[in-house]
């Protein structure tokens, strides 16, 4: 679906992602929570944004900081779409992540902005916005 706004043009195709863990039908048999060995098959999310999206390097730096803070296993996929909450970040983690981002990028993030960050992409976009202002 294409949308035009005053400041950006964005096209987003449906992003197809296959969740790594299949859950057996509810109410029947045993619930399998454990991740299995098969690698996740995921088509890349097709998203082309002309103006305000953060550079991949910024996203990657955010991913590194998040991985370190949450001590994620190497096989845990983290990308721009990843939500902090679903990665297991609680409020203290989130605050530490924000502090890590402030230190890495030399910026200062206000509480209101910090509260609105839910994904890695949100964080990267905010960082670039703050860097532009400097």
């Amino acid at each position: 679906m294409a949308s035009f706004t005053a400041s950006s043009v964005s096209f987003s195709a449906v992003s197809c992602s296959f969740k790594q863990n299949k859950v057996s039908s509810l109410g029947k048999g045993s619930l399998s929570f454990s991740g299995n060995g098969s690698p996740s098959r995921r088509l890349p999310a097709l998203r082309f944004r002309v103006s305000c999206a953060a550079k991949p390097e910024t996203v990657n730096k955010v991913v590194d900081i998040v991985r370190k803070q949450l001590a994620l296993p190497a096989d845990r996929d983290v990308s721009g779409e990843s939500k902090f909450a679903t990665l297991g970040a609680d409020s203290l983690d989130t605050v530490e992540i924000v502090m890590g981002l402030e230190e890495e990028f030399g910026i200062s993030v206000e509480e209101e902005s910090a509260q609105s960050i839910t994904t890695v992409q949100d964080a990267a976009d905010l960082i670039e916005k703050l860097l532009e202002k400097k």
Binding site: L26, G27, S30, L31, F33, S34, L92, V95, E96
Partner: protein, 312 residues
């Protein structure tokens, strides 16, 4: 039917929840689950089964088995806990509806047929992968926070405190020379501040951590005493808010506990009838360790609950 704490353990043969009366106005109930003690796949299935589709989806979206389990237990705990109080004869955890207030604080959306006053039950939950807790009060706002005692902080404690805490709190932490003790005092302070913000229900930015100080009455000026040095009866945890003079210290009371030898738990509740000059008696706290549908154990007064400060 009132649960008495000297009858410690209740076993149930089927999916039943022991009904319980709401806490009295000066009382708080705290229920907690340890995910490591819930091993049965069929029990976890039962928990999943009482959730509506959207909550189920949220649980399953969590990345990693431990996270999914604690997210599931958090929803199961809050639903089964509230169901126990059988408000308006509603005792089915499945039928509870929840919504968020203006600032994102979860609350029960009570179902009424006619125009009735909402029941006075208030609750708040907090969870880590190793412990899930739910606090309940009557007619009083409540906020709780639990953290692992041995949680590692990635940043330098004082740098973190200077960035997020108030000056008074930085001074308190800076005066502690032992880094381990400093880290633990930091975690205690964090849980208290979180509990306060959650009780206020205004969201993280509604009461930024820098704008209020939590301190322990009885701490000497210029030095420090760790909370262990203070006898629980002699000390009190208080909050000073810089931004909101209407939010008086006397409106809120705090308790700080060590749960199951592994976690700090902070509870902040609204105080009512805070008369001028009158010293309010600390509230009563009753704590249950539970595996919903399976087993409840009242653990108040046992080694599982160590009161650091604040309640009887």
């Amino acid at each position: 039917m009132k649960l008495h704490c000297f009858e410690r353990t209740f076993f149930h043969s089927s999916s039943s929840l022991t009904p319980i009366q709401l806490p009295s106005p000066m009382e708080t109930h705290l229920w907690y689950v340890k995910p490591s003690e819930v091993k049965s796949g069929s029990l976890l299935n039962q928990y999943l089964d009482i959730l509506p589709p959207c909550e189920r989806e949220n649980v399953l979206q969590m990345r990693g088995e431990e996270l999914r389990k604690s997210a599931l237990l958090a929803r199961a705990l809050v639903r089964t806990t509230i169901a126990r109080y059988q408000i308006n004869s509603h005792s089915n955890p499945r039928s509870l509806k929840f919504r968020k207030n203006l600032h994102g604080k979860p609350e029960v959306q009570w179902q009424f047929r006619d125009d009735q006053h909402p029941p006075p039950l208030h609750f708040n939950i907090s969870h880590t992968t190793s412990l899930v807790a739910c606090g309940v009060t009557t007619n009083a706002q409540i906020g709780i926070d639990v953290e692992e005692k041995h949680r590692s902080i990635k940043h330098n404690i004082l740098s973190f405190a200077r960035r997020y805490f108030s000056k008074h709190e930085v001074q308190f932490l800076a005066a502690i020379s032992d880094p381990q003790v400093q880290r633990m005092e930091f975690i205690k302070l964090w849980t208290l501040k979180e509990a306060y913000v959650k009780a206020l229900g205004k969201g993280f930015s509604g009461a930024p951590f820098k704008t209020f100080t939590i301190r322990f009455k009885g701490v000497m000026e210029g030095g420090f005493i760790t909370l262990e040095d203070l006898s629980p009866k002699a000390s009190e945890i208080v909050v000073d808010s810089f931004d909101d003079p209407a939010d008086l210290t006397s409106n809120w009371q705090f308790s700080l506990l060590e749960l199951a030898n592994s976690h700090y738990a902070a509870i902040c509740t609204e105080k009512h009838g805070a008369g001028s000059g009158k010293r309010n008696a600390p509230g009563k706290l009753t704590v249950w360790k539970t595996v919903p549908f399976l087993e409840d154990e009242c653990v108040s007064g046992t080694a599982a609950v160590k009161i650091i400060c604040g309640v009887q």
